[in-house]
Symmetry: D2
Subunit: 443 residues, 4 copies
């Protein structure tokens, strides 16, 4: 902070707290002051003080602050109805302007004013992480969260995001966040990170927002390969020999991680994949196939709900780490996984598997299923070691997406369809699929 | 555009227009499509097509498009009133979410979706320039403008802006915009520009938005000086000897230009000046005085409305370029200008002069007035050559601003107050100041 | 300069000049001090003072300084002979080290020590510009110049140069140098510069040295085109419609300018062209032809030395600006130019034309000749308006270069060879070509 | 590599090897070709091939190559003597030019031509590392090394180096080199590195050469502190509380590491320290004291050569890790270390301790000595845990340096002088210091 800023700040604080009656002014009062300050001379100081004060609060204080936002910074429904009626009666600038102002909860304008402070955007995102935590126990707070989500959708609009390649020349301060945020296949060490970034057959891309230049929003890790791999351990093996980038025909998206819990509900993944496909196509024209190597996180839980003994035996083998059995039973397991991906649905008719929902909604299709593909403890536990390739085929992406969006049809390759049929014909999966495969939408 | 993007684009357009009934789909229908598209697979293509289509339209087409936004993408007042009532009856996430959605005109969401396209932000700002032009004849369009202004306030929040120094190492593509946008003292040539950027006693700073990295939003030109200068021609003289930056005690803000007519009503000037004062204070600790050298754009017109023959004679001399007379009558002219700045008001009680309103609202005070300070044709015509220094005194800025905001009191130095009294005591200005000095607020 | 540096500097200067006998120590003594200073504590201060002192000198002082370098900082031939003999008698580290030290003139080490100062490289380059100027009248100084040239060859080694694209986003401080340095087709104004940089069918590249980051060493201007152009005025026309970069099949190098007279004799042009060809080939794979559009600067003077009346008439027409005549006589003029380029030689057997020598030595060939190709006053005067395309054909470049280097054979396309024959068969050029076409090598 | 470069390369190699007699042309022949190639069309290809070939050689081949350089690319002493005599007889450009050329070994020009290849500078530096290794057994190679050293002194001139701050935002590819190159206090892990870079009281600076932008030449690690620390473990403690940078009054240089063994003999350390002192003084004006915390690497070995039983007992305690004893005997140990630093000399009269030689030659003085200051195994072994602060006092630096350079006087603070006296008066160190404290200069 500069000397003048210091000076201004000191003068301001002295002034602000000089009247004895003000004492240590409560944060709620400061918020009202910020909303009514006419110029922005003092606004930025005030905003900074509110953010500092909030971050110094314990949980109880933070909860109280969110409750204040929800209760005292809400819209006034009667006033909104009145303004709407007046606008309906005479649609002009003044009546519309009044409606716009009255129909927006004051907490939105408060957030915009807090955001004036340099660095505030990241602090407001962190504030929403807190809010979502408290809202689990106090659902009324979800009303305030609606406003956060509305604002963040506008601020983190695709047009404002910047795609940056992450590699071994990236600043360590960003790389340590990549290590921390990796949510699919944990990065053990800086050496592990280097193996994912430095070889010429590896790529990593992230979206950043200009107001949070060191903190990625989402990132994807890509392996360039000859052919489609069927094992994540093979992709990540320490001793593997890299492929020459110009020799590769396939780009494998093997990990996508959202970084900011405070941006839950703001979707970046589809844009990221599309942009990376476009960039890789331009840089490496030999690439023909764009495919994921994805976990099937809901498979294990779903299998636990089936009462077929072969399924139960597979789950048991996986829990025991009995890879011999899993190898021997690779085809039945693949059939079960195919059935799960194609037939298991939530109440709303969408696929039960969350990763499947994401890629299918993006326009990808279920291309192939592999057993013994993730033999880590986590992989065996979550899906008996099975993984799936979703294929991004630019000729079909648009059609797939529209079919999925309108009819919820899960598009799959012929081999995967055949696998799914096998599961049914061998009786491994319940005849009365209707009941058993449904899971509640909010699962 | 990459090959894959090309391909996607081609496929999309083929698909989009393949059904004969679609023909050349009207822009209005495309807007509805964009709002109802569920994924963003095709969204970005569609958004790009809408922007391209709009920009290819003639005025009539653009006007029709804005009328469509105003009429067909408006809120539904009855639905808003209904949603407000329902929310009032039961405040929960669902009712609030519904109210949020219904109370926002669909044109806002449309603008956000258009903004996904790379480079769209600048195109939407340009779109608003058009909108404001049409709104002069069709005030109903001002309702749509309210939405643009609301969105832009959020997007161009202070926290997202970047301050950058403009100097002779700045890319030519940015500098040519500085030349084009300078609105106060025109820049004649690249040589003139260099004289304002390269000497060590000159500074220039601009705010940029990350989504418009080559296009400044506002910029300020600063001269470092020993003492406060009283003539813009002296400041800009070709042959002057530069002051060493470390010897200067005064920073003179001699020109502030807003660059984007499409951002009218979004205020950046106050933040810019404050930030530049802070940065200069840090870099050059010898600087003690921060002051403007500002035009008095409303003075001439105001003088024309007075029926004092000495005033009329001064106006006549200025129009004739009779600098001898203006030099001889320097003090009376300064007194008149002081009186104008301190006493001439709009109906709402704010100062008649727009530049005065800006700086006084920022917390500056009227420090000194100079005759023969701008002897350009424009300066003589607008203000008989008079200019004014507004002083940014960090000890008083906050207090000045609050006084002005609450009581509309114009703070001035003692010498300027004395000057203004002279004007009254010598009878040059009307006794019944009440009538004569008022100008309509919308002047 | 920082405070500590200031302090060090002050202490040093005080100390350095404190002894009354030192008085204002002569620059020659300071040079000896610099060479004998054991550490570099004071070395950098001393080096800076020497450079400052030199630059404050008038011509007489500078000449004296160069004479001092030449006379007093020369090698000692007897000592060199002695050291060589000792090394011949016993080749070991000590004798070799002694020879290395003794055989190098002290002025080389002086220059290296001067170069420690930040920014010194450019100042030493400027110093050599002076030296070369004085050496015209005092050829003894050329011995000192040999040392400068030897050092600069090492410092400006190709491996240290950086190729940068110059475009409309380049800092103005660099662009103004491009304007100043353009030596072939003068750049009239910033608008003219923009027309050469901004359209998508224009490129400009320069070599920079890291120690002179704002000052180009050499640059080349390129036009992308469909087919090979035959008129520089057409290439530079204000109103022309740009070609889409991806549609172009030909890259035309229409201007190459060396920027630093102090780097005379250090050749960058060949590397620059090769590198730009490589970069353009990578970025725009449709480009098939790389060709220059070059002046024939020696043609006019050579024509003046011929006693053929048709040639005399063409020269007269060109001097009168009689473009009608020049158009009518296009083919004879082209034939004469072809003959000149292929047959007119210096005493050492190299082509008389300096631009021809440059491109032929690079491995290019004479591809086509155009009349009425440069109708500027300068073009008409220097070459009756004729210009030439040299072709860089990557299949033949190596062979051409070796042929030219070993046999001095001028490689030309069949049409140009035919043109040259025409000149001979129509008797326009002297039979006794041997005499008439020779010009002294030092012309 | 671009397509055109590929093509050129292929054509060149085909051509180069097409004649059956050429076969696989030996590297020595290629070097001769490179020296005689007239243009640089093929020069860069040839240079690249030579570097590639060298790097593919085993040790025997590399040794043979260096012997070839030493023997066959040497100067011709008789020719040098002849050229020197001719120059002595008639000093003109031609005779001087001939002498310059003949007196320089062809291997220097060879190295310059190899350096044309992008990235070659680092490869030549690595080549010298090899050369120095072989020269241990074959001292004749040191003649060739003289030429490398001469060239590198010119290429790595202070004026070409760039100082860059190393921090947690530095690319990982540079940071991993910092970890690898740290030669004084090993960096255990990325976490250890972060503790040295990220806290606000830590700084790290490195010199880079523009042709090796990712590879530091030398770096220094700095701790900001209140007062002068006396223990490296305290400085590097994991759990310490950082000092606010603006509160610090002392900058402690606690580690300086040269990175490139191939640049042995080219000194950067003095310039680096001076530059960092200057930069820190500017950025943090509160800093008053600039001091090292340095090892005393020669102390242990020197103590082993003394026949005083107290000294022997201290060595024994240190070897046993008996910190209790070392703590109890802190003062005698400090006295011994002071005596060693001030009195132990090499044959040439310079201090026996290499770190002392470096800092004293830079103009620093011996400020304080600490026992139990480096309790690592290495510290106890090398110096019984003692360390020393060398003080860089800008008021005395120049004088100290000159005194040291001319008289070899070791400047020390009064307390250190007193300590050294104690060692003598208590009889711990030999009376006949002359003999005992001398060590061979090449130790």
């Amino acid at each position: 902070m500069t000397r003048l800023t210091d000076l201004l700040s000191t003068l301001f604080e002295r002034r602000y707290f000089s009247e004895p009656t003000k004492g240590r002014r409560p944060i709620e009062a400061m918020c009202h002051d910020l909303l009514t300050s006419r110029g922005d001379v003092s606004g930025m100081q005030l905003a900074r003080m509110i953010l500092d004060r909030f971050e110094a609060l314990e949980d109880a204080g933070r909860l109280a602050f969110f409750q204040f936002l929800t209760r005292d910074m809400d819209v006034d429904p009667a006033a909104v109805a009145q303004a709407a009626t007046e606008y309906g009666a005479d649609r002009n600038k003044a009546t519309y302007s009044a409606l716009l102002r009255i129909a927006e909860a004051p907490r939105q304008e408060l957030a915009r004013r807090l955001n004036q402070v340099p660095g505030a955007t990241a602090r407001l995102v962190a504030m929403r992480t807190d809010l979502l935590r408290f809202a689990k126990d106090d659902p009324a707070l979800l009303r305030t969260d609606q406003d956060f989500q509305h604002l963040f959708s506008s601020w983190f609009n695709r047009g404002f995001l910047v795609l940056r390649r992450i590699n071994w020349d990236t600043p360590a301060s960003v790389l340590e966040r990549i290590i921390a945020y990796e949510a699919v296949h944990a990065i053990d060490s800086w050496d592990d990170l280097r193996r994912r970034l430095q070889p010429e057959d590896r790529r990593c891309y992230a979206f950043f927002h200009p107001a949070m230049p060191d903190d990625p929003l989402i990132f994807v890790e890509v392996a360039l390969a000859k052919g489609i791999p069927g094992s994540i351990q093979a992709v990540l093996a320490e001793e593997r020999a890299p492929v020459r980038a110009t020799d590769a025909d396939t780009a494998v998206f093997y990990s996508i991680s959202n970084c900011q819990s405070g941006l839950a509900g703001i979707s970046f993944g589809n844009s990221l994949i599309k942009q990376v496909v476009a960039d890789l196509s331009r840089d490496l024209p030999h690439l023909k196939t764009f495919v994921t190597l994805s976990p099937i996180p809901g498979l294990g839980r779903w299998m636990d709900g089936q009462d077929d003994e072969r399924i139960t035996a597979l789950r048991y083998a996986a829990r025991q780490g009995d890879t011999k059995k899993l190898t021997a039973e690779a085809d039945p397991l693949r059939a079960i996984a195919a059935h799960y991906l194609l037939e298991a649905k939530r109440d709303n008719g969408l696929p039960a598997d969350p990763v499947a929902r994401f890629h299918l909604n993006n326009g990808a299709l279920v291309h192939e299923i592999h057993a013994m593909a993730d033999t880590s403890a986590n992989g065996l536990n979550a899906s008996c070691g099975a993984m799936v390739n979703y294929l991004y085929d630019s000729n079909r992406i648009e059609e797939n997406h529209e079919d999925f969006a309108s009819t919820r049809k899960v598009v799959a390759s012929k081999p995967v369809q055949a696998l799914a049929r096998t599961a049914r014909t061998t009786g491994m999966t319940a005849a009365k699929a209707g009941d058993k495969t449904r899971t509640p939408s909010n699962a």
